[in-house]
């Protein structure tokens, strides 16, 4: 992974988010406050606007810059959470001398842990973490076993979809939906949905390159 692949991934994430505007907005209106899509889109556009600045950077520095940019652009809860993810990922990569699939999986996991710390949240609270935590552990497990990229991307797409679906019957205990009590049951979480869309987009990009 280098800054060019990071820019490609950012572009893929951006188009996927734009393509899912209706789904994400609909979920957020049901049990949120209707601003999630707008905020995520603003973040995607901010990253697109610094593409040229990211290009000469190392992967570590590019991820950190993305984190800082998201922190000052998105706002809301998503801003600090996504920022913490990329800054956590950057910090983990910095500590490693090499770059391979396992190192990347470990960095992804470090990013997810940074989100958990910032949001003081766990799995099962009807948030983005219900997608991210299973993806992080599956990614690391498959990378550990030395599975080929195509197997990893196929499996992660399934896990991300299952993670999203798992939020449907959860009570929300974090975020705006937490005031709803049982009324949140039966609805998917919008933050989990946007994470699923992003991870799926990156998996599709990676598998199209590895073919």
């Amino acid at each position: 992974m280098n800054s060019a692949t990071i820019n490609h991934a950012a572009a893929a994430i951006r188009s996927a988010i734009l393509a899912h505007e209706a789904d994400i907005e609909c979920l957020d209106r049901e049990i949120g406050d209707g601003d999630h899509y707008i905020n995520i889109k603003r973040g995607c556009e901010a990253i697109a606007s610094i593409e040229a600045e990211l290009a000469p950077l190392s992967a570590t520095d590019a991820l950190n810059k993305i984190g800082m940019k998201l922190l000052s652009t998105i706002g809301g809860a998503s801003g600090p959470l996504f920022a913490s993810f990329f800054m956590g990922m950057s910090k983990s990569l910095k500590a490693s001398a090499t770059m391979n699939t396992l190192v990347l999986a470990q960095a992804f996991e470090a990013g997810v842990q940074a989100i958990m710390q910032r949001g003081k949240a766990q799995a099962g609270e009807k948030t983005m973490l219900d997608v991210l935590i299973p993806v992080a552990s599956t990614f690391k497990q498959l990378a550990d076993q030395g599975e080929p990229t195509s197997v990893i991307t196929t499996r992660l797409k399934i896990v991300t979809g299952e993670g999203l679906e798992s939020t449907r019957n959860m009570l929300a205990t974090k975020g705006r939906a937490s005031g709803l009590g049982e009324r949140a049951i039966g609805h998917l979480d919008a933050g989990a949905k946007s994470c699923q869309v992003m991870i799926e987009a990156v998996c599709d990009l990676v598998s199209s390159h590895s073919q």
């Binding site: 809860a77 920022a83 009324r183």
Partner: protein, 332 residues
């Protein structure tokens, strides 16, 4: 959606520019990062800074001025401001005595102010407001939301800071007021976030949302629309119940704030006040101070909230002290 709007991307900038021009004797606005400060910056006192998503006007920028806030950081509509805004605002108004953040208890606001606080090169503290008693503080929630009671905290802590009180004393007063304040809101219609273009939630002419949040987030339950006295009675009962749950005295003097959520006329707000004051009096609380109007809004939502703050000499004195801001002014 029908709104006074040019380009939704520029709505906040255009509105803030108008705000700053209209009140150019009192405030100044900076952009990129965006924050509002007093025109005459205060010296040698704790700097009181608040902020939050836009769409709740006049909160918070409308309360920047003598006797209240030193700076406010407006975020995008219903979206917390970002740490760079808070850092720039703190840099601009810090007067050597530390910085106190007043933050409504929402995950986004808490996290952004927390990250700003971690980066702040000054002595600092934070008061979180959580006066909304619609959300029961159980193991199922991140905690109660900060709503209209935030105005009372900002007014009184702002007053105390003007006396030269230190950071710890300002924080203590803010937390005491938050503890002695309960609010509950009711929505008759949804609000429409301009960039979304559609109402946040569906609600029919025969329904109301009891316990609605100031972003249109659903509250306790959807109920059938009924006469005002019956709605107000339920709201007052929720507040009295919350006072009890907080183990506050069952009688005493209160400050009663009836707040419009954006599209409810004053005529209805005073009608609500009339019933609320009578019912609270019957329950042993005498209304010693009142405020009725649009102070913490939810864009264009029709609806209202009722806030009661149990006064003591300290809180009463700081509520009564002179204040001169775009949205709140007396005695100066």
């Amino acid at each position: 959606m029908k709104k006074f709007l040019n380009d939704v991307e520029h709505m906040l900038t255009e509105s803030l520019t108008g705000f700053a021009t209209a009140h150019s004797d009192l405030v100044e606005v900076q952009f990129d990062p965006t924050f509002v400060t007093r025109k005459q910056k205060a010296q040698n006192k704790v700097a009181i800074i608040s902020g939050g998503g836009s769409g709740h006007e006049p909160l918070h920028a409308g309360y920047v001025g003598a006797g209240m806030l030193d700076a406010a950081c407006p975020g995008q509509v219903f979206t917390s401001p970002t740490p760079d805004q808070m850092l720039a605002a703190a840099e601009a108004v810090h007067a050597g005595q530390g910085v106190l953040f007043i933050v409504k208890n929402y995950a986004g606001d808490v996290m952004n102010f927390e990250m700003a606080a971690e980066m702040l090169p000054f002595e600092h503290a934070t008061v979180y407001t959580s006066d909304d008693c619609a959300v029961i503080n159980s193991t199922y929630t991140t905690g109660r939301r900060g709503v209209a009671g935030t105005v009372i905290v900002e007014k009184c802590v702002g007053s105390l800071a003007e006396t030269g009180a230190d950071l710890a004393a300002c924080k203590t007063l803010g937390e005491k007021i938050n503890q002695r304040t309960s609010s509950i809101g009711v929505a008759l219609t949804s609000c429409t976030v301009p960039a979304a273009g559609r109402p946040t939630f569906e609600i029919t002419d025969t329904e109301l949302e009891m316990g609605v949040g100031i972003h249109g987030e659903p509250g306790r339950r959807r109920e059938t629309m009924r006469e005002a006295d019956a709605i107000v009675a339920d709201m007052v009962a929720a507040i009295v119940h919350d006072f009890k749950a907080k183990q506050l005295p069952a009688q005493g003097e209160i400050l009663l704030l009836v707040n419009g959520l954006g599209a409810t006329p004053l005529m209805e707000l005073y009608l609500i006040y009339n019933t609320a004051a009578r019912l609270l009096q019957e329950k042993g609380f005498s209304v010693a101070r009142s405020l009725v109007g649009n102070y913490v809004t939810a864009i264009d939502m029709a609806g209202a909230s009722i806030t009661a703050c149990l006064l003591d000499n300290d809180i009463r004195r700081h509520w009564d002290s002179p204040v001169h801001t775009p949205a709140l002014r007396w005695d100066m």
